[in-house]
Symmetry: C2
Subunit: 192 residues, 2 copies
DNA sequence: CACATATTTGAACGATAGTTCAAGTTGTAC
DNA sequence: GTACAACTTGAACTATCGTTCAAATATGTG
């Protein structure tokens, strides 16, 4: 009847709709910022009536929470993949960060908007924190120093901000160099 | 008549009102986030009618721009003061950053909200960028390495984020240690 | 005094917001 | 078929929004 793994096609469609609405929400955030997210703009983006948006997300807050969760999970998955599969994990991280300047800019922008939102809602903090914890775990594969881990995590975050807001140089080599510097690798391998 | 240094008491009162409205705006941002800023909430906070808010700031955008400019300038002034007057400039920066956990939390939160806003408005980027450039200048007093400067700037930003969103440890010593790490000081003086 | 300029006020307009709801449709179980 | 649950729809309610405006007050100038 109502078990978790039901194959009820109605519920399956419901889950799909839910995902579609979240996707439309992220599109709106990327285009107009978190301030542009309303039940109506999201519904229009998804091509559905307004009341269907509220059917799946009773309040606008629920929708934003779901969107943040989704985008954070996607980002976290990327990092986990680097940890598990990349040989040079620091370089993998640098590539991921450098993406924020190119194709991944919209996504990174959305994540910043939503994480800023999280600063004001304690319920969202654990989700926003997960990204940071995963970067820390990646860092622990590169060094034993706790302060080096902290510096790398902070620098990673700061680099993303710089790329998004300052249009800082964002080629992988540059990011990689700065990450190495934060990690404290010997000078002569960093300086030109 | 209309020169800059007029002592016209009417204009003086106008400037004071303008400052009051900006102050009220920042209070609203600190309490409810940038999304909570409306002409009405600001007017209520300032104890004035709505139309007076629009008299000084024709559009809501003008008001947000003015508020961001104000908060960014205050922060920049703090950094400049450290550069010009502190002996241990890195420690001064660490103290400033650590403030974000205590009395300066609201202001730091407001700055993040408003700088996130800047990501979507090119006109605001120069203002948001100034903070970063001043930190870089401070860093250049501590090192000759360009990558060390970049790492310190990025780490400073990331530490603020961590303190605001993750409730990361924020005592001055800890922040100072991480900043030193990013700067690349010899290991033995950093590790415990 | 009159005259001009700057500030202040309350009311109003049109637009859009979140949310609710009763009615309709589709799919599942019996 | 009937009964039931999940999904979908359009319309509506109330609230708040940004902005405008004419009138009132205060201040400076002659």
């Amino acid at each position: 009847m109502g078990d978790d793994t039901t194959t009820d096609r109605r519920k399956a469609r419901g889950r799909k709709r839910r995902a579609e609405i979240i996707e439309a929400t992220l599109t709106v955030v990327q285009r107009d910022g978190a301030a542009g997210v309303t039940h109506r703009t999201v519904a229009k983006e998804a091509g559905i009536p307004v009341s269907l948006s509220t059917y799946y997300f009773a309040t606008l807050d629920d929708l934003l929470v779901a969107a943040l969760t989704s985008v954070a999970e996607a980002y976290t998955a990327r990092i986990r993949h680097i940890i598990d599969h990349d040989d040079d994990k620091l370089r993998g991280l640098a590539e991921l960060i450098a993406e924020s300047a190119g194709p991944g800019r919209d996504r990174a922008l959305a994540e910043r908007e939503l994480s800023t939102l999280a600063a004001r809602r304690p319920a969202l903090r654990p989700i926003a924190r997960r990204w940071r914890e995963n970067v820390a775990e990646l860092a622990r594969h590169c060094t034993d120093s706790p302060s080096a881990v902290a510096a790398l995590v902070a620098a990673s975050d700061g680099l993303c901000t710089a790329i998004l807001i300052d249009n800082a140089p964002a080629d992988t080599d540059y990011v990689h160099t700065v990450l190495q510097q934060a990690l404290g690798v010997p000078r002569e391998t960093v300086e030109q």
